[in-house]
Amino acid sequence: MTGWDTATIWMVIVLLGIGTLAIRWSFLGLLGNRELPDWALRHLRYTAVAILPALITPRVLWPEATGGEIDPARIAAALLALAVGYVSRNALATIAAGLGALLLLQAAGL
């Protein structure tokens, strides 16, 4: 992987492994039956639906594959995947719709 030497890559893997295990162990191992306060649960509930869309938004809007230029085909394919995922609640259908739409649009020359 460009710009990353082997030692740093392994350091990332190990530190992420330790950090992830610590998060997963936290309230189960350390705190036993103590309940999380309501406000904390209220925030934690939204971590996935906040961080995951934030992460991919720039990649959909300004993809590296087009040199950072806005690509209508990728935006349309992402919106279609979003709609399919929302309606079907099915992860596989979502991926198939998104990748399939992009392939079709690219084949159509868009």
């Binding site: 189960l28 209220r42 961080i51 869309p53 992460l55």
Partner: protein, 232 residues
């Protein structure tokens, strides 16, 4: 058959449909990681040591974008923060298991093992501890162990994917498939929309810190919308 064995087998049975989701995701990580330039041992390292799909994809994407190491770590761990909530809600059921078992339970705590087990425990709170642990390990057997195998398959067979396929789009679409089905209430939608708007408007923030800011902002909006809709 002891009651623990039957609980273990029940855990296996309820998890089987989820293989349809787990298998392609693991394989996709093998493909994407290899395309990003990780070698086989490193790709397997991600899936065995971290064993958290969304965080693995996050780390690989940010490494490709040459983000600083600290940002790679902080962002991938932020993606996993939801698991603190999983740990907290499993604690009343599994919190009294022996220490080594709780470490193992923590290691295998992913979306599907958590969701299936929590549902089972809430439906049968009187289940003895040993059966609850056995049920959980049944779900982990089906959800987690194949994760390693399909990662390896994806890494090894991924090179056979023809070059015309836009694999760079695989990560965004995989992420959409993680969160789109979760947009089931107004606070969830509000959190996602706020995070997207913040991600776009905070692109100028150096060192990819916009990810954490947009994530935290989205979480705060989701929590606030929830608070207002429940106090009314």
């Amino acid at each position: 058959m002891t009651s623990s064995t039957s609980a273990y087998l029940r855990g296996i049975r309820v998890s089987l449909p989820f293989l349809l989701v787990v298998l392609p995701f693991g394989a996709l990580f093998g493909v994407v990681g290899t395309e990003a330039g990780l070698n086989l041992a490193q790709v397997m390292g991600f899936s065995i040591v971290i064993i958290a799909g969304a965080a693995q994809f996050t780390a690989v994407q940010l490494m490709q974008e040459q983000a600083p190491t600290v940002i790679v770590l902080a962002s991938a761990l932020a993606v996993n923060l939801r698991m603190a909530m999983y740990a907290a809600s499993l604690a009343p059921h599994l919190g009294h298991a022996p220490g080594w078992q709780r470490v193992l339970i923590a290691y295998f705590n992913v979306d599907a093992t958590y969701a299936l087990s929590h549902m089972e425990f809430e439906a049968n709170p009187a289940m003895p501890l040993s059966e609850k642990v056995a049920f959980y390990m049944g779900t982990a057997t089906v959800i987690c162990l194949p994760w390693y195998v399909v990662t390896w398959l994806g890494a090894v067979l991924g090179q056979a994917i023809p070059p015309g396929i836009p694999m760079d789009f695989a990560i965004p679409v995989a992420f959409i498939s993680f969160f789109a089905p979760a947009l089931r209430t107004l606070p969830h939608v509000a959190a996602a929309m706020a995070a997207v708007i913040l991600a776009i408007s905070l692109q100028w923030v150096p060192h990819n810190l916009w990810i954490l800011l947009a994530g935290a902002g989205g979480m705060a909006v989701g929590a606030e919308v929830e608070r207002r809709s429940t106090t009314r």
